[in-house]
Amino acid sequence: MADPLYQVRNLKLSLPDMTRKPVIGRAPQIDILKDLTFEIPKGDVLGIVGGSGSGKSTLGRALVRLLEPQSGSIRFDGEDITHLSENMLRPMRRRFQMIFQDPMSSLNPRRTIAGIIAGPLNLQGFDRVDRRVDEALEHVGLPVAFRTRFPHELSGGQRQRVGIARAIALKPEFILADEIVSGLDVSNQAQVLQLLEQLVRELGLTLAFISHDLSVIRRLCSHIIVMQHGRIVENAQTQAVFDAPEADYTKELLSAIPLPDPDQPWV
């Protein structure tokens, strides 16, 4: 097996519980991630599934260090990034990128598509930014004419492609995709997933794909982590999870999926 790109050991993360914050004083902390240990091998496509509140998005945000864990460690390509300062992280950020769930709120409505994709390229000091923007657009199957458009002029599927273009323009080694198809119609969803499959192949990406939808995960991912209440309840090859799920929660998730088939028993 190839060297792991990510090595996560005993990861714990808590966040302030704002619903219980007193008027004066600090909010009590609530434990979101409770002692997670796993690896992501280079070139792997990892699926992270779980219900709402299971901590899957928090885990994703910790991986790309938008959140700082309380304890444990995250190693990226051998380097400990658990507590790196923002200054230390900035040059590394090019290497791990994120695609967000809702492209309408993660693309600046006042900037053109070219401006949105060029933003991180300029920040990271890339040369020939214009050409890189064109290449990124081409990679995600959008016409170069879209450079001068604004996000509101695009369809949901096209906007999500812009989010993907912005991430891959930096030539990252790792991409975190957090529920990126859950707001799309099935046809757009299928297109975006096919694109992602193709990019993983062509660019040799390592991908973590967060989703609540096991059907989508099955198509895309080689490996699955199932989360419940901030813990990993199952961590196995995709085939194994579907053929012989071990955790009760995984079985429950599988049996709750309504297949488009009136003969599937479902009660």
Binding site: V186, L214, S215, R218, P258, P260
Partner: protein
């Protein structure tokens, strides 16, 4: 089986603009669950809103009939129409957070409708609300009545809205993507609950959704909508064994199935979109001439 809800040639237009619903016809009988599927923007929710008389101001009904138990709602004077709809139809909305007023307790939000519109006494309405909350399997109805929406989970809030929809014993329920915001495990519970309530109260149910998996579990028949036009109207079994329209077939192929990862997730092919768009245009041209 005669239809309780019968929509005939319903056209809705943007005021001074194009048609949004194109001569839509569909029937839902008492005791039947009819699915309404299509991609976003196809006009699924618009049909529900037209039936309930809650269309946005910018659009209007150009022609057609909405028959509820044999009466054409569109021929009634406004006040009478609203009373009729209020007494015989109800909505289960998509988002349980925005459908409940965050600054009012749950109890009042269920009873106000019974008291204000149906002129029940407060005591009767309260007793009815408690009974409904236990009917939707809420463990501690008294406590939930006194709670605010933010104190309940998403699944609980959706249960409250289901209880509320059935409060006045409507004969028609329109459920507009009622489980889209929920986890699969909670979705399953809520779908079973909706089915159970629908069967017990013997209502006609129009179920708006984009999820064909859900349709196959809760509906007996369905209509497939594309660009405001119904391209297929059939029973669930024939639909899932062999959809008649190429667009329906493509939509089914695009639906992910974890049992068959390779065959699923094919985008709707461009030639299918072209063909169905041409069909819509031809339909539109005939309507303009006629």
């Amino acid at each position: 089986m005669s239809a309780y809800l019968s929509v005939r040639n319903l056209s809705v237009v943007l005021r001074g603009g194009p048609r949004l619903l194109r001569s839509v016809s569909l029937d839902v009988a008492v005791g039947e669950v009819h699915g309404l599927v299509g991609e976003s923007g196809a006009g699924k929710s618009m049909i529900g809103k037209a039936i309930l008389g809650i269309l946005p101001r910018a659009v209007e009904i150009a022609e057609g009939e909405i028959m509820l138990d044999g009466t054409d709602l569109l021929r009634l004077p406004t006040g009478e129409r609203r009373r009729q709809i209020g007494a015989s139809a109800a909505l289960i909305p998509q988002d349980p957070m925005t459908a409940l007023n965050p600054s009012h307790r749950i109890g009042g939000q269920i009873t106000d409708r019974l008291v204000d519109i149906l002129k029940w006494s407060r005591a009767d309405a309260r007793a009815r609300a408690l009974e409904l909350l236990s009917e939707v399997h809420i463990p501690d109805p008294e406590r939930v009545m006194a709670s605010y929406p933010h104190e309940l989970s998403g699944g609980m809030r959706q249960r409250v809205l289901i209880a509320s929809a059935f409060a006045a014993e409507p004969r028609l329920i329109i459920a507009d993507e009622p489980t889209t915001a929920l986890d699969v495990t909670v979705q399953k519970q809520i779908l079973r609950l909706i089915g159970e309530m629908q069967a017990r109260h013997n209502t006609a149910l129009l179920f708006v959704t984009h999820d064909l998996g859900v349709v196959s579990k809760v509906c007996q028949s369905l209509s497939v909508l594309y660009a405001g036009m119904i391209v297929e109207d059939t029973d669930v079994r024939s639909f899932f064994t062999g959809p008649a329209h190429a667009y329906s077939a493509a939509l089914l192929a695009a639906t992910p199935k974890y049992t068959d990862p390779q065959a699923s997730l094919t985008p709707v092919p461009a030639d299918v979109i072209e063909a169905v768009t041409a069909e819509v245009e031809a339909f539109e041209a005939r309507w303009r001439r006629g």
